[in-house]
Amino acid sequence: MVLRIAIGGAVVLIGLALGGARLWWLARLIRSGSPAPGRTKGALRRSWAELAEVLGQRKLLRRRQSGIPHALTFWGFIILLFTVIEAFGDVFSSKRFAIPGIGHSPVLGFLEDLFAVVVLLAVISFVVIRLVDSPARRERRSRFYGSHTGAAWVTLTLIALVMITLLGYRAAQTNTGDFPYGSWAFASHAIGGWLAPLGRGTNSVIETTLLLCNVAVIMGFLVFVTYSKHLHIFLAPMNVGLSRRPRALGALEVTDGGSGARTIEQLSWKHLLDFATCTECGRCQAACPAWNTNKPLSPKLLVMGLRDHLFTSAPRLLAAGHGASRGSALTSSNGASSAEGKVVGQSRGSSDAPAAPALVPDVISPDVIWACTTCGACVEQCPVDIEHVDTIVDIRRGLVNDGKMEASVQQVLENIAQQGNSFGKSGRMRARWVRELGFPVKDARKEPVRYLWFVGDFASFDERILELSRTLAHVLHDADVDFGLLYEGERNAGNDVRRIGEEGLFEMLVEHNMSTLNGAQFESIFTTDPHSLNTLRNEYPAYGLDKPVLHYSQLLQELLESTAITVKPLGTRVTYHDPCYLARHNRITEAPRKVLHALGCELVEMPRHGLNTFCCGAGGGRIWMSDDPALGERPSENRIREAVALGVDTFVVACPKDFAMYSDAVKTTGHEPDLRVVDLVELVATALETATLAAVSGS
């Protein structure tokens, strides 16, 4: 007994010391980050997130195969906490230790046994998953590519050992008379049956040995956890609780006035917590359009790379004190900006600390940072609510503020700053497409309208797409919808500008658009472009916009449902591509589907649809960046192949950028003859024409 206490005590103390030191170190490291305001607001929402995502394992369960075993393991560990308490009681107190208040209820005995077995089975399924999706064989296609697989195997082994020693000592106890549970503890009794022939003495030795082993493995596991990616056991509940709510999509986070992060010091503590929390599960990587089309960016590898950098920077970060001073050591190769440094972009302070390496290019290659489409698939997938897009854009801001970007992006930013549109055309030409309509369109700046149509650059200037704008205008006009435009008062809404990282230009655009909007009379806004919709709906309210913002698909849905427009069924088999900024960022997935339904189209879904939609590759300013053809297919081409495999001949889009991207992609993939790219409004117009024709011929 004394020996038990001595060995057990030593193991526990060493474990607590090692694990505690590591956790303390981590806490100080994360607290050294820049401020991230508003992370505790909305306690109710946050508590609900904890319940749904941590206890309910909501996001993990989206991937059934690995989600179910993970949820069972998680719940198993909660139940098995009781066995841990009992084991410690057994070691340090008495052999028939019972948890006060619960005692040795047969139900507890049953649950403990059940989950010990269930977790063992779960471990087996994890082994199978890891073998089937082995990165050694499947390379980039494996979601574990680049993860620390060694640590994962150690973890699985430790979990298995916890369960084996647990069941072992409990089984031995059934033979020594120390086991407090009856036949409900079915597994312990069954194994005990096999151990019984060894005799009571041997069983007693087995009991003590395995009990101590159990405590040792548990402590070893805890220490190992704090030094590995399994840290998420402790950090995930925190990270989920401190994440942006309802989700880190829609509006972008802007910290420190948008001056951007050039060094790890300038990233917010929440992002540092993100890095430390990552489980390396690769769900983000598997969904990422950049990674899936051979770009250098994997959101997982980015987070892991930043975590490694965080840990190796620890001496510098901790020497600088508890987040008090943030050495900003502007590592700018641009002499102009360092010369201007005194005046500009230095709000994060500076210190004499050793120069911090630049995040780009010392830690991350610029290609990685620029490959992101800000589609949000990673954020949507991440089971521990890591906010990749916010981190990526904050790093981009640092680059843009130092003038480091692709020439084509610089040109577009200059166009937008000068002319207010990405096309570099005269801002006064913005509403020229209206001239050919054959009916006047109201100017919302001059007379009140019910709907203000925020058209956006592509739908105003791109030859192919302004044809679609005219179609929509005709449909609305025929349905007697009271709508108007801002004409040349409209400027690029700034969604992509902000995601490129040009926060100053974004603010300038918002100020301009808000002053025009404030001078116009309307009840609600609708947009053609989901990107404009996103910023108007989620970001403009911070600048005073207080009107509802709809997408034209929602307006079409309303018109069809209220029979303001009547159509004849088309009967076409179609598939529909959810735009990232409509579906994922704004949860609008039903409206376009209802429109298709009302048109009598048979909708065949692509495997990746709704919130799991696959990006066309245009977002986040990517539409203005060059794609290296040597890297293989583009995201849009990947998507077209997905659609072609369904055997439909019509690919429906509801976003001008999608129309442009996919019209090109059907050509480059050679699928132009068998897949037609159409906009939702074209289908509505066709169905209308059919209806009108039918009415004419019927009369």
């Binding site: 006035g257 948008g258 001056s259 641009n334 002499g335 102009a336 900006s337 010369a339 201007e340 005046v343 500009v344 972009g345 843009v400 503020n401 003038g403 970007m405 020439a407 610089q410 930013l413 200059e414 700053a417 000068q418 002319q419 570099g424 055309k425 005269s426 006064r428 040009e502 926060e503 100053g504 230009l505 603010e507 300038m508």
Partner: protein, 259 residues
């Protein structure tokens, strides 16, 4: 070392320009003005020289429409000072000679070691500004410059001669250069920086010396008009031999070739 960059504002050509009712100028009411893109090249080269040699960069412009924005942008990019020469009418087009005459006294007073400007502008397609200015000041000059390297009292310039040839030469300072292209594309000035700079103010306003009375070379403008369509195209058909025969005939009949 002080480098002066002379900048010009031009109507933004993405706009549709219209002729004013007097018929001798474009309608300046609605037009937006932007910096001459070649002057942006000159500014970039100056900033690169500043980075390598620590020179002071001063941008100088006449008080033309939307000029403040161009000057603040230059400061945001790294220019040390911005000077606006005021007191000159900015409501009409100004000939390059007139412009040079206004700039010359300021350039002289400023004790600049090197003067850079764009090789040409939309209203100075034959690129006279640098040359005329140098002439007025009695300074050496080079045009179509694509490379500048500072020495102690000289500057090494690479000048494009056309036909794929270029020449390197060493010119005494001070000198006036017309820049065709900087060594790298003009840098980006983030809007937040431009706005901060704008808020801080800092454009120096200097009264321009009134130019001497219209000199003999001054141009008087009678009429400005959109190029009128004249003549027509004739499609030549037939075998290559016949077509060649026909071309030769046309050239002969216009007296463009002999025989």
């Amino acid at each position: 070392m002080r480098i002066l960059v002379l900048m010009r504002q031009l109507p933004d050509l993405v706009e549709e320009l219209e002729i004013s009712s007097e018929g001798t100028d474009i309608d300046r009411e609605l037009v937006k003005f932007v910096m001459n893109e070649f002057d942006d090249q000159a500014l970039e080269e100056a900033l690169l020289l500043k980075e390598s040699s620590g020179a002071e960069v001063v941008v100088v412009a006449l008080d033309e429409p939307d000029v403040d924005q161009a000057l603040y942008t230059a400061i945001a990019k790294g220019a040390d000072r911005a000077v606006k020469l005021t007191g000159v009418s900015n409501e009409r087009w100004m000939s390059t000679h007139e412009r040079a005459a206004i700039l010359a006294p300021y350039v002289e007073e400023s004790a600049a070691d090197l003067v850079l400007t764009g090789v040409q502008a939309a209203d100075d397609l034959d690129g006279q500004l640098a040359g005329v200015l140098a002439g007025l000041l009695g300074l050496p000059h080079a045009a179509v410059v694509v490379g500048v390297e500072l020495k102690d009292s000289t500057v090494l310039v690479t000048q494009e001669l056309g036909g794929g040839r270029s020449v390197d030469e060493e010119i005494d300072l001070p000198a006036v250069l017309g820049l065709q292209a900087a060594r790298q594309a003009p840098r980006y000035a983030p809007i937040s920086k431009i706005r901060q700079v704008t808020q801080a103010g800092g454009i120096e306003e200097v009264a321009a010396h009134t130019p001497p009375e219209a000199s003999a070379t001054a141009i008087s403008l009678r009429r400005l008009y959109v190029p009128e369509r004249s003549g027509h195209a004739e499609m030549l058909e037939g075998t290559p031999g016949e077509v060649a025969e026909r071309i030769a005939e046309i050239l002969r009949s216009r007296g463009l070739v002999k025989g």
